[in-house]
């Protein structure tokens, strides 16, 4: 009975919200927390749109695929390149229609459906007071086995998948041999980024698979410049976050306004510290100071969705085989 009253109360509370001019945006879960970029995006966009932007956090693509054309979503934000192929094939998304000439990405981006809003690169983050960074990926492979590394599982996390593609891009046919050299240094593999990063900040690992942009958080939010990303001359794997417009949206104009808003200055100058990533369309001189201090790679590695889809199973298998021995 109590449950029923409780449930009924919640239902009433929600249906009371006006349904007009609501832009429904699906986003990853971390997006909408007080510390994520969601609240700032909502504030900035609502100031210009005379509408109500509502985030619905949670699993993005699985939920959309389950819902199909009947989805409530007007826009989806926070997709990664490893799902764009599936997403494109679903036919659920419309072209974004945004001029891409303002993009400042380190790679050429011409996708008409998926619009980048921020990026970073895979990198191993370490504490400069505790160790010296290996000078290259090769140096990392050949480092002493005492080096303690924590990474994420490519089967359950986006960053873990980017890592195996990174190794694939650097070592090609020799990927499994590279993993075998790395294996003794890997303390453990976690389900997601949070667990790994927690282990790193707790001192359980010397280096953690994270992003080139992670040190910016420590510099800006904590005034701590001792956390750095080791930069390798072999190149770093490019990771980009994307937004897309849902074809079946019942708010096509608002959705389009939102897509245009994403590459605008308001959004772009906020997203660096909002999502701890590099803005996709903002000149480096306009980045927050902490971001200007970041060590960034000269060379960027990236597989487009078709190449990545073709390589994925092989790359994961090289990782699995080497780490299962």
């Amino acid at each position: 009975m109590k449950t029923f009253t409780f449930a009924a109360g919640l239902l009433l509370a929600t249906s009371a919200v006006a349904q007009e001019n609501v832009l429904t945006v699906y986003a990853p879960d971390y997006f909408t927390s007080e510390w994520g970029p969601g609240p700032k995006i909502e504030e900035l966009f609502e100031a210009q749109c005379e509408c109500d932007l509502q985030f619905k956090p949670g699993e993005l693509l699985p939920r959309l695929l389950l819902e199909g054309d009947r989805t409530e979503a007007d826009v989806v934000i926070g997709l990664n390149t490893d799902v764009t192929k599936k997403a494109r094939e679903s036919g659920l998304f419309a072209e974004h229609g945004v001029d891409l000439s303002s993009l400042t990405l380190p790679i050429d981006w011409t996708d008409a459906t998926f619009l980048p809003f921020n990026y970073g690169h895979t990198a191993f983050v370490y504490d400069t007071t505790k160790m010296e960074a290996p000078a290259s990926f090769d140096a990392l492979l050949n480092a002493d086995d005492d080096l303690r590394l924590v990474i994420q599982d490519p089967r359950t996390s986006v960053s873990g998948l980017a890592l195996v593609l990174w190794v694939q891009a650097v070592y090609g046919d020799q990927a499994q041999a590279a993993w075998e050299k790395l294996a003794p240094k890997i303390v453990t593999v976690t389900k997601g980024w949070s667990e790994s990063y927690g282990m790193f900040t707790d001192g359980e690992a010397d280096m953690v698979l994270s992003y080139t942009t992670s040190p910016a958080y420590h510099i800006i939010a904590e005034g701590d410049e001792t956390k750095k990303a080791a930069i390798f001359p072999e190149g770093h794997y490019f990771m980009v976050e994307l937004a897309a417009k849902v074809a079946a949206t019942d708010q096509p104009e608002l959705a389009q306004d939102f897509m245009d808003f994403i590459l605008g200055e308001d959004f772009q100058s906020m997203i660096a510290t909002g999502n701890w990533s590099i803005p996709a369309a903002l000149d480096q001189s306009a980045w927050p100071e902490g971001f200007q201090k970041l060590d960034l790679p000269e060379s960027v590695l990236f597989y487009n969705e078709t190449e990545a889809a073709a390589l994925r199973d092989e790359a994961i298998e090289a990782w699995r085989a080497a780490l299962s021995q």
Partner: protein, 503 residues
């Protein structure tokens, strides 16, 4: 009560809510799909680690619980309560606590290193077992304790006045208690460990420790292969139910007879047994409490960083826990028998991911799933808690039937009167323990919220993950401490409520 309409309705809803979602996912997927070769390896590892975890947890729980039954010392009640805490911790928090103690940079290695001894490495199958024993030893201990406490004082007094040797005491009291409790405890723990995923991976050290649940997660989330997810989910279900049927076959249910509820201290714990008992209690206490201490220490600073949204999330969690507990206890009262228990086992064997997806598909045609985030979480947590509640209540409920069956028949007590006059008063202790456990579990469980998430209605465990995902490791540790305090608070309140009869 086994065949009352109440029980039938409760049973049918339970079946619909656990098997229904699996069926819906299967229909949506258009049938089962073949397994990948890696899935068989995962299956083997899953069963093996779950089996070892269950056996170890129960085997270690026997000496610890017996020591606690035989010995009385100041702080015993507090220790028993605190020892229950690991079971109710959210996975990610417990793992961090364990790593702080047993990890490479942990306390144990600090001490070993200081003494110039070789360091231990937690990561591997032994790490998985360590974590699973950490979670489940307390549950097994409490189940055994409840079993021992159900032995009437008169029996012990008779045994003492007859001058029974320790071997004889073992034969007439301890042995039967263990035989009555252990099989069920083994199954429940086996089944919980079947669906282990993040713990197994993190402490297992890598892909060697791949479980079926991980494969389901991968299939659902990365490959969008519902067929494979459903196939794996069904295999998991079959394993859990198979174990359940086996355990119910070997469990004894004869009662210990009636007593006048006088508490009696056992006298067989004297002499050198004081020392061995003391050692068991100290070891178990250290093993369970030191990692908890690490969680508390990590969290204290973070408490200052908590903001309004975390407090609101805590409120949601309390509401969810309350609703889950009420719902679960109604189910438990209706289904406290063997068949009910088997049915309830299905609830925790079904992969939470499959369950969540199925419920999402079931609800979607009727309501907006987003608005249902908290009710669905409450419902699922009630389902998840039911097998534990039943495992705690059923052995004594069945014994009650044997012991009071004649009284019931001669007085012609029916339904409500039986429940009010005999059942509830006689089962206060297990009912309180079960309610406390369910409340604490519901507080700490993420449930199936991922597909139903709502930005304004996060629960506290979800908030912990969100904070961690935004680099707020300290605040997350603070939120985790708050969660621990709330879970433990709910547990103590209800468990104490059940034990008041003792005074």
């Amino acid at each position: 009560m086994a065949r009352s309409p109440f029980a039938i309705i409760a049973g049918l809803t339970l079946a619909a809510l656990t098997l229904g979602p699996v069926a819906v996912v299967l229909i949506r997927a258009g049938g089962l799909s073949a397994l990948a070769p890696g899935d068989w390896l995962a299956l083997r590892f899953t069963v093996w680690q779950a089996l070892l975890s269950a056996v170890l947890s129960v085997a270690l729980a026997v000496p610890v619980a017996r020591a606690l039954v035989r010995q009385r010392f100041p702080g015993r009640a507090v220790l028993v309560t605190l020892m229950g805490a690991p079971f109710i911790l959210p996975v990610i928090v417990a793992v961090m606590g364990l790593i702080a103690v047993f990890g490479r940079a942990g306390l144990v290695n600090d001490v070993l290193g200081g003494l110039g001894l070789p360091l231990v490495d937690i990561y591997g199958l032994h790490g998985v077992l360590l974590a699973h024993v950490f979670f489940n030893l307390p549950l097994a201990v409490r189940m055994l304790l409840t079993g021992w406490q159900a032995v009437p004082g008169e029996r012990l007094r008779l045994a003492t006045s007859l001058g029974l040797s320790r071997a004889a005491l073992w034969r007439v009291i301890d042995g039967p208690v263990i035989l009555r409790v252990a099989p069920g405890a083994l199954v429940v723990i086996f089944v919980i460990c079947l669906t282990s995923f993040a713990v197994a991976l993190t402490l297992g050290g890598g892909p060697r420790a791949t479980t079926v649940e991980l494969a389901i997660y991968q299939a659902m989330r990365f490959d969008f292969d519902l067929g494979r997810a459903a196939t794996l989910g069904l295999i998991q279900l079959a394993l859990g139910l198979g174990a359940g049927i086996l355990a119910l076959k070997v469990t004894q249910t004869d009662g210990f007879g009636l007593g006048r509820d006088r508490a009696l201290v056992r006298r067989d714990g004297a002499g050198w047994r004081r020392w061995t008992d003391g050692m068991w209690i100290a070891l178990a206490g250290l093993f369970l409490l030191v990692p908890l201490g690490a969680v508390v220490l990590r969290g204290l600073q973070g408490l200052m960083l908590l903001r309004a949204d975390t407090i609101v999330a805590a409120g949601h969690s309390v509401a969810v826990a309350g609703a889950s507990t009420v719902l679960c206890m109604i189910w438990a009262v209706a289904l406290a028998n063997r068949r009910g228990e088997l049915l309830a086992l299905a609830a925790i064997t079904v992969s939470p991911l499959v369950l969540g997806t199925g419920l999402f598909l079931m609800l979607r045609p009727f309501v907006n799933p987003f608005t249902m985030a908290l009710p669905v979480t409450a419902l699922v947590n009630a389902l998840m808690g039911l097998p534990f509640a039943l495992r705690i209540i059923t052995p004594q409920a069945e014994a009650l039937k044997t012991d009071y069956g004649r009284l019931r028949a001669s007085l012609g007590l029916t339904g409500w009167a039986w429940l009010r006059l005999i059942w509830v008063p006689r089962l206060r202790r297990p009912l309180g323990f079960a309610a406390g456990l369910v409340a604490a579990l519901a507080m700490g469980d993420l449930g199936v919220i991922a597909l139903f998430a709502d930005p304004d209605r996060a629960t506290l465990p979800l908030q912990v993950y969100r904070l961690m995902g935004s680099y707020q490791m300290e605040a997350a540790a603070g939120a985790a401490l708050l969660l621990l305090a709330l879970s433990l608070g709910a547990f103590v309140m209800l468990d104490r409520g059940g034990r008041l009869a003792e005074a």
